[in-house]
Symmetry: C2
Subunit: 213 residues, 2 copies
């Protein structure tokens, strides 16, 4: 029996199969609707099997959230490298990437940000991934700071403000709380840009030739 037929007693990579199976379920029925037993059935395995790979339902959810953070990290790093010489574009691109990710994956974002997954304990896979993503965003802001683009706020304040803005906008969009807003990429990019203008308008120095945009 070839690999194509995975009827073998041992499921090749049950761990990843479970994670993959969880995502559509999460999208359709939300966190409260996702069940361990259902996941087992979906991956063609008995209901006890998942516990070889995840100690807990929470552990499974944490693994999914960690994947999400890794996507955010990747996205920040790619924006930073792509616009190495234009820190503002890099920031805007990362912000819009963040926004698109949250809108495309609202349930994963909920997992990451809703706090359902208790106060992230230090050292866990999830904690690592989250801290890493935060740091990757901060690096982008430091880029602009070092280029002397921003007004006299310290980096901490700038990061807090930027993160708050993009995070808030993303979550509002993800929960459909912005009346009459389209969710296609075009509209979202336009909205992101408008909000970015207000934010950057508040962050930038006024004296120099900040006419980069």
């Amino acid at each position: 029996m070839p690999v194509s037929e995975k009827k073998s007693y041992h499921h090749k990579d049950l761990r990843n199969a479970l994670l993959s199976a969880a995502i559509p379920v999460l999208k359709e029925k939300g966190v409260m609707g996702l069940g361990m037993r259902e996941l087992a059935t979906l991956t063609g395995v008995s209901h006890g099997a998942p516990y070889r790979h995840f100690s807990d339902k929470t552990a499974l959810l944490e693994a999914i959230a960690a994947q999400g953070y890794r996507q955010l990290s990747a996205l920040c790093n790619s924006a930073r490298e792509r616009y190495r010489q234009q820190p503002l574009q890099a920031l805007e691109e990362a912000g819009i990437g963040y926004l698109l990710f949250v809108v495309d994956n609202p349930e994963i974002a909920r997992l990451m940000f809703s706090g359902v997954l208790s106060p992230v304990r230090q050292g866990s896979e999830l904690g690592e991934a989250a801290a890493c993503a935060e740091h990757d965003l901060l690096r982008i802001i430091e880029l602009g700071k070092q280029a002397g683009l921003y007004a006299d706020f310290d980096s901490r304040e700038l990061t807090t403000a930027s993160l708050s803005m993009v995070h808030g906008l993303s979550m509002l969009l993800a929960s459909d709380r912005l009346s009459g807003q389209q969710h296609d990429e075009r509209s979202l990019r336009a909205l992101g840009r408008k909000v970015a203008v207000i934010l950057l308008n508040g962050m930038l120095r006024r004296d120099a030739g900040n006419e980069e945009r």
Copy 2:
């Protein structure tokens, strides 16, 4: 047997008793840890009783979220009336009130904003309360807009930006995602003010004497 001893067969106001009992449980164990049966026990009633008052666990959670929105409404309206002549102070005060509410009641905020309570169907108690709160915030921004304080953005953009900022900051704080940030009212007000400076700095016109602060 006097009213103090509520051993009577009929619980006087079970509905509100259930809602009150739910809040501390929510704070301690989160949404996933709250059970209908537990709530029944806590209010001294059999496990079937709550279903006379809430068709569903979801209905109970929606009622709690609706209470939260009503608190936000109240807070906006009080800020608007208190600073009727200073639209910026009104906005800042409402924003900080929002922030304090979310930090003090993170689990309720999660209920309100996490989207666990499916796409808010029109006409429900929850939908009404949410729309009302949103509108009350918008009224504050309109106040400043009419006073000609803001730069040439339309009201929609200004509202989106303000709401995103305060909502994002609140949720980040509520889930402890802002490293090394204290949660006492003093620190929170200070943080809120710093972020408000950046935001308003981006929103305000520059020509006139916007030295209100």
